[in-house]
């Protein structure tokens, strides 16, 4: 079971208490009425879906109820860090790279003949 650190409860809790809230740090355009349909589409619908580190919103719905942000590795599913909503993106350079250290289907694919 995945343990997620809630920055408001200041404790690691089971993933069962949490719910994913999509990409984080998506700023709503201040001139929302003036932008074109294409710009609105890009803001509202289009997401990067990266392979590797992604910044996401999570909600501790069956706990304190708060939204917070998390940096997660989409390959290893490891949470690199979590931080309170409204705080800037943390610098992850200091954090260790995890996707290379975890055995995944993608990593083993080349060797499995």
């Amino acid at each position: 079971m995945l343990l997620i650190y809630c920055p408001y409860c200041e404790e690691e809790r089971s993933e069962l208490e949490f719910r994913n809230g999509g990409d984080a740090h998506i700023a709503r355009p201040t001139n929302i009425a003036e932008i074109s349909d294409e710009e609105f589409e890009a803001y509202f619908f289009l997401r990067d879906n990266p392979k590797g580190v992604i910044f996401e919103r999570w909600r501790h719905i069956h706990g304190c109820g708060r939204f917070f942000n998390a940096a997660r590795d989409t390959v290893s599913d490891r949470f690199l860090t979590t931080y309170k909503a409204g705080e800037p993106k943390p610098n992850l350079d200091a954090a260790p790279e995890t996707s290379a250290t975890v055995e995944t289907y993608e990593a083993l694919e080349g060797a499995a003949q």
């Binding site: 809790r13 089971s14 069956h62």
Partner: protein, 184 residues
């Protein structure tokens, strides 16, 4: 004239007893409860008006004789009065900006007590309930099976488990299974 149908209020799990010798399950008596939301500035006034200090640390609670204030979130508390005292009026008399919702009849509580209480609750709840991490007085909103619950440890071997009344039969059933397992 036709007979009038008189609706009587039915207490969930009325008269039910369950569990095992390791973990005894007892539905708690009806109590008054409010879901309280307020900012930092309002906490002192609300604490004075309610007669119990609203805790500001995660997973902590404060209790007087029959009244408990449970920290649920950074600006959210569940206040329980086992005597059924008027909590809405008390909160309103604080004069501070807050939101209070009377949830006395939304929730019901099950008292889980005995040496196997932790094991019985952990049958459906992923939290670490060992005394070091969840001491007497600790409280938390969490999940039990598919139902959201609020846990309060009232003694080393006793928990007060609050759940929504419509989930009560499910919670009681799953707890009974857990209590049986705890006896082995």
């Amino acid at each position: 004239m036709a007979d009038q149908a008189i609706a009587t209020r039915k207490v969930p799990l009325a008269g039910l007893r369950g569990g095992s010798h390791a973990a005894v399950l007892t539905p708690a008596a009806p109590a008054a409860r409010i879901a309280l939301r307020a900012g930092k500035d309002a906490v002192p006034a609300l604490s004075a008006a309610l007669g119990v200090t609203l805790p500001t640390r995660p997973k902590t609670s404060a209790s007087t004789a029959k009244r408990h204030a449970l920290w649920l979130g950074p600006d959210e508390w569940l206040v329980i009065d086992e005597d059924g005292a008027e909590l809405m009026g008390a909160a309103a008399s604080s004069g501070a900006l807050h939101s209070a919702v009377d949830v006395s009849h939304r929730n019901m509580a099950i008292i889980v007590s005995g040496p196997g209480a932790e094991v019985a609750i952990n049958s459906g709840c992923p939290q670490d309930l060992s005394l070091g991490l969840f001491p007497v007085g600790a409280c938390s909103r969490t999940i039990f099976g598919k139902a959201e619950i609020v846990l309060l440890r009232t003694a080393e071997d006793t928990f007060r488990l609050e759940c929504w009344r419509s989930f009560a039969p499910f919670v009681f059933g799953l707890l009974s299974e857990g209590a049986e397992d705890a006896a082995h």
